[in-house]
């Protein structure tokens, strides 16, 4: 069942909670509306397998289709390079969080501060804390998670869902972006 409670039960938010994304098309529309979206990809991206395909392969397809710039955290840059995809940047999860709360940061390659930061595949509690930091200290930044785990500190989050639904959502998003090319 799809649920909009925090995946890890105690990671609750107070008065400002994420809007659930009930259809992947809505997420696609919001990403398109953003001028400088980025996607922060964490170390679980090689740990999750959806319908027989690794999450990292979905993410590469998504990034190629959408042209969203990928920031790989931890040592994930190597995993992307192994698969023939060069992320726009790589840095620690804390470094990208810390840059995003700085309104003077000029973004990846100096292309301007991102207006949408998406996250996927960090350890749930780390992602939750970074999203909390952004909620409090980067009030003009919109955040979104592409996980199948609900993140109340994001601006928008997919609800908790089984891997099959997650795979379907990602596939729809990829095809929507491809269709627009």
């Amino acid at each position: 069942m799809m649920s909009c409670e925090p995946w890890q039960c105690a990671e609750i938010a107070a008065t400002k909670k994420a809007h659930p994304i009930n259809k992947p098309e809505v997420a696609v529309a919001m990403i398109k509306r953003a001028a400088r979206p980025i996607l922060v990809v964490g170390s679980n991206v090689t740990e999750r397998s959806l319908e027989g395909k690794l999450l990292i392969d979905y993410i590469i397809d998504f990034a190629r289709a959408s042209n969203v710039k990928v920031v790989a955290t931890a040592h994930m840059v190597a995993e992307f390079l192994k698969r023939g995809y060069e992320p726009a940047d790589f840095m620690s999860a804390m470094d990208i969080g810390n840059r995003l709360v700085d309104p003077t940061w000029q973004g990846i390659n100096g292309e301007g501060h991102p207006d949408l930061a998406m996250f996927v595949a960090l350890p749930y509690y780390m992602e939750s804390l970074i999203l909390s930091g952004l909620k409090h200290f980067a009030p003009d930044l919109k955040t979104m998670t592409l996980d199948n785990l609900f993140h109340p500190h994001a601006s928008w989050s997919f609800p908790n869902a089984p891997a099959k639904t997650w795979a379907e959502n990602l596939t729809v998003m990829i095809s929507k972006f491809k269709g627009e090319k």
Partner: protein
């Protein structure tokens, strides 16, 4: 040094010029000072004395807050919603509140270590007197208390001197905690500065505790060849009565071991321990066994191996006593900080207490006399063991399969698990008779038991995991080197130069708790990687245990594979939590012994020296506690970077440098007064990393210091680049920020790096005599 109060009272004093009646003259202290070193500028610093230094660091490494809670509920104005810039009823913002929580955590940590030290020192003074001399390492250790000398300006020689040092710590902790009251401190950076001060005080408190116990209990004294101690559940002789001590304070355990020795029972019983008490027991008695880190408390109790459980203080699960009841093991609470609700039997006759525990008339007792704890524990263990028959509370495999069929598949177990372990599918498999998926959870489970609390049908899921992993549990037979205590002065003389010049590429201190993201092997792998690279690897506490819990291809544990001395490629276990100041102390002694900088009350200068010259990095891969926070704060304040594993993000505040802002990386060249950009070295002061691979790359990079010689920098860069290429699959993108002259570039990488430097528009710069303190500039620019 001794400071004594002087009071002169005279009812009537007749002199040639006057008659004085009712004279009372009181002098706070008489300084009997035989220490020749001149007093530095900041002895006994108050909470704002070193504020300027703290703010220098905090300006370079700004806090990045990730609030764990949007609310403040500390006073009755609240709850206040502080979301995104709202101020609470008292006016506080979420940044202030987040830093306030950091201060509270660090103050709790400092109070805990100081309280621990107070108990140890008071007890030892009562037993051995104030004049009992301190002996940390005989002739090999002249600088016996580097942290205490540095912070307080006191050179302690006796137990009585430590009493005075602790009075200072207690005063500071009180002021620090008071600053967290509603309506006191109001600025986040000032909260942070106070947290740094808590760290300084914490280091002093810990040092006092350890040098007192090393001196009096005759622990290994700066001994690189301290004995190897058997470690793991598999090392315990089940045929003997087993006394298990959990906590951090060795005093009650000393009572147990002394009683055993006095009654020639030391080979008849097993004394085992968890957490830092285990480490310190083994420093006192090399046949004491270390079972494992803090996270194994439920594991050990539920296994049924324990006949008597002795609880002292810190990091003791609050349900240990309830768990012990389930296996019919009597409990002795031995600390006034952890009375467990038991009746205080300290003044009752031993026979009565023993009878009450053995007959199960009472499940446990509070005894605050360590000698009595010793006698009661031993006698009860002997009597209880044949009655208990090692009764376990773990289910049989058949019971697991039967009970697993009642699982409702609600998945609350996984959603409550800090590790997000896939418990649900393992339960489904168990219901079908396949326990392998449960077995696979064993290594990564941190033993918190939250899965059981969440289960709506009250399945004892943690016990299921333990039973499924029991085979591995009983095979755990490893070695941990007993905590050696301090680093010898002669070791510093020999290694200090290569460290400061960068030829020993760094010091890795693997410290702290066992809240690991994927089991303890990551700690072993990281330590071994850096020992093989001829860094100096120092360990303490639960990390010291995890480092010794795995074996190489030859079957050796880390402590068998590498020497225990402070040298390139050495792996040194300094001891328990309170031994951590020997790590900070080694860095301080490099400044003092190698560089001949005065220590006494000279904090800023020494911290400036360490920050710019000593390539040390702390790694608390499984840090969980407030004590770990204060320990880290002690290192931050010295300018030593600390990395934590993913769960460490829950400390909710990082101290991050910005490598993309060149203006943040300027120092003075003490020779000329010129401002020199030295690059992001070290880049961060407190950072969470996600994976062990990221930790390895970060450690190598964080060892880089502005003072490195070209040879040292070249060695450090070669490790950084090598690890980066191995784990990140490419050259570091920031290499140009660490090359000052072409001589810094590792010989074999010259061509590759030159191309990168050219592409980045790199320009050669000078290697300064780096300092952040204008007063250290020897020749001012005109």
């Amino acid at each position: 040094m001794t400071n004594k109060g002087l009071r002169v009272k005279a009812k009537e004093l007749k002199t040639d010029i006057a008659l004085v009646k009712g004279l009372e003259l009181s002098v706070g202290k008489v300084i009997d000072d035989t220490w020749e070193e001149p007093m530095g500028p900041t002895p006994m610093p108050h909470i704002t004395t070193l504020r300027d230094w703290d703010l220098k660091l905090l300006n370079k490494y700004k806090p990045f807050y990730m609030p764990d809670c949007d609310l403040c509920c500390l006073c009755t104005y609240g709850k206040c919603d502080l979301t995104a810039g709202k101020r609470g009823a008292c006016g506080l913002t979420i940044a202030d509140q987040s830093s306030r929580i950091v201060l509270i955590a660090c103050s709790i940590g400092a109070a805990t270590h100081t309280g621990h030290a107070r108990h140890v020192v008071d007890h030892l003074i009562e037993e051995y007197g104030r004049n009992h001399p301190l002996d940390i390492g005989g002739l090999n250790v002249d600088v016996e208390a580097p942290v205490t000398r540095l912070v307080t300006g006191i050179k302690p020689e006796t137990l009585g001197d430590l009493d005075e040092v602790l009075t200072y710590c207690e005063t500071q902790v009180t002021h620090l905690l008071s600053a967290a009251h509603t309506g006191q401190e109001s600025n986040n950076l000032d909260f942070e500065s106070k947290a740094f001060h808590a760290g300084r005080v914490d280091q002093v408190g810990m040092e006092v505790a350890d040098i007192a116990q090393v001196s009096v209990f005759d622990f290994p004294k700066a001994d690189p060849e301290a004995p190897l101690i058997e470690m793991g559940l598999g090392t315990i002789d089940n045929a003997k009565p087993v006394i298990c001590c959990i906590g951090h304070n060795v005093v009650p355990s000393v009572g147990i071991i002394d009683y055993m020795k006095a009654n020639k029972l030391d080979s008849k019983l097993e004394v085992v321990g968890l957490c830092c008490t285990a480490i310190d027991n083994s420093r006192y008695f090399d046949r004491a066994k270390i079972v494992g880190p803090i996270s194994w408390e439920l594991r050990v109790i539920r296994s049924g191996i324990v006949d008597v459980l002795v609880l002292d203080e810190q990091c003791v699960r609050t349900d240990c006593a309830l768990e012990a009841e389930r296996i019919n093991a009597p409990v002795i609470a031995a600390s006034e900080k952890n009375c467990v609700g038991y009746k205080n039997r300290t003044n009752d006759p031993v026979d009565e207490i023993v009878n009450d525990l053995v007959s199960r008339k009472v499940p446990g007792v509070l005894i605050l006399d360590p000698e009595k704890v010793g006698e009661v524990a031993v006698r009860v263990a002997q009597k209880v063991m044949p009655m208990r028959k090692k009764q376990s509370s773990l289910p049989s495999e058949e019971e697991i399969i039967k009970l697993a069929k009642t699982c409702r598949h609600c998945n609350l177990c996984q959603r409550s698990c800090p590790q997000d372990l896939k418990i649900g599918p393992a339960m489904t498999a168990a219901a079908e008779g396949n326990l392998k998926p449960l077995t696979e959870l064993y290594e990564e489970c941190i033993g918190c038991g939250r899965c059981e609390e969440a289960c709506p049908v009250k399945l004892e899921i943690h016990s299921f995991i333990l039973k499924a992993g029991q085979k591995f549990m009983l095979q755990e037979t490893n070695f941990c080197r007993a905590g050696r205590g301090a680093v010898q002065d002669i070791e510093i003389r020999s290694a200090g130069g290569p460290i400061v010049l960068g030829e020993i590429p760094g010091i890795l201190a693997a410290v702290g708790c066992a809240n690991y993201p994927h089991g303890g092997k990551d700690v072993y792998d990281i330590c071994r990687e850096f020992a093989k690279r001829r860094f100096i690897v120092m360990t303490s506490g639960c990390s010291a245990m995890s480092a010794g819990s795995y074996r190489n291809e030859e079957g050796q544990t880390l402590y068998e594979e590498f020497p225990g001395s402070f040298e390139a490629g050495g792996v040194l276990n300094v001891g328990s939590c309170v031994s951590n100041p020997h790590i900070a102390g080694a860095a301080i002694k490099v400044a003092n012994i190698f560089a001949k900088r005065n220590l006494r009350g000279n904090y800023e200068e020494i911290a400036d020296y360490i920050h710019n010259r000593v390539g040390a990095v702390g790694l608390a891969w499984g840090a969980y506690s407030q004590k770990a926070a204060s320990i880290a704060a002690g290192f931050w304040s010295l300018g030593v970077p600390v990395l934590v594993g993913p769960h460490g993000s829950k400390y909710r505040r990082m101290l991050m440098g910005r490598s993309d802002k060149p203006e943040n990386w300027e120092v003075y060249d003490a020779r000329t007064g010129d401002t020199v950009n030295v690059g992001p070295a070290p880049e961060h002061l407190f950072q969470t990393v996600e994976t062990p691979q990221e930790a390895m790359v970060s450690i190598a990079k964080l060892c880089i210091r502005p003072n490195d010689t070209w040879k040292g920098r070249s060695i450090k860069l070669s490790h950084y680049i090598d690890l980066h290429k191995r784990h990140y699959g490419r050259m570091p993108k920031d290499i140009h920020q660490f090359v000052r002259t072409m001589a810094d570039v590792p010989m074999t990488m010259k061509d590759e790096i030159k191309d990168i430097l050219d592409a980045k528009g790199w320009k050669e710069t000078v290697i300064p005599d780096p300092t952040m303190l204008p007063r250290m500039i020897r020749s001012k620019k005109e």
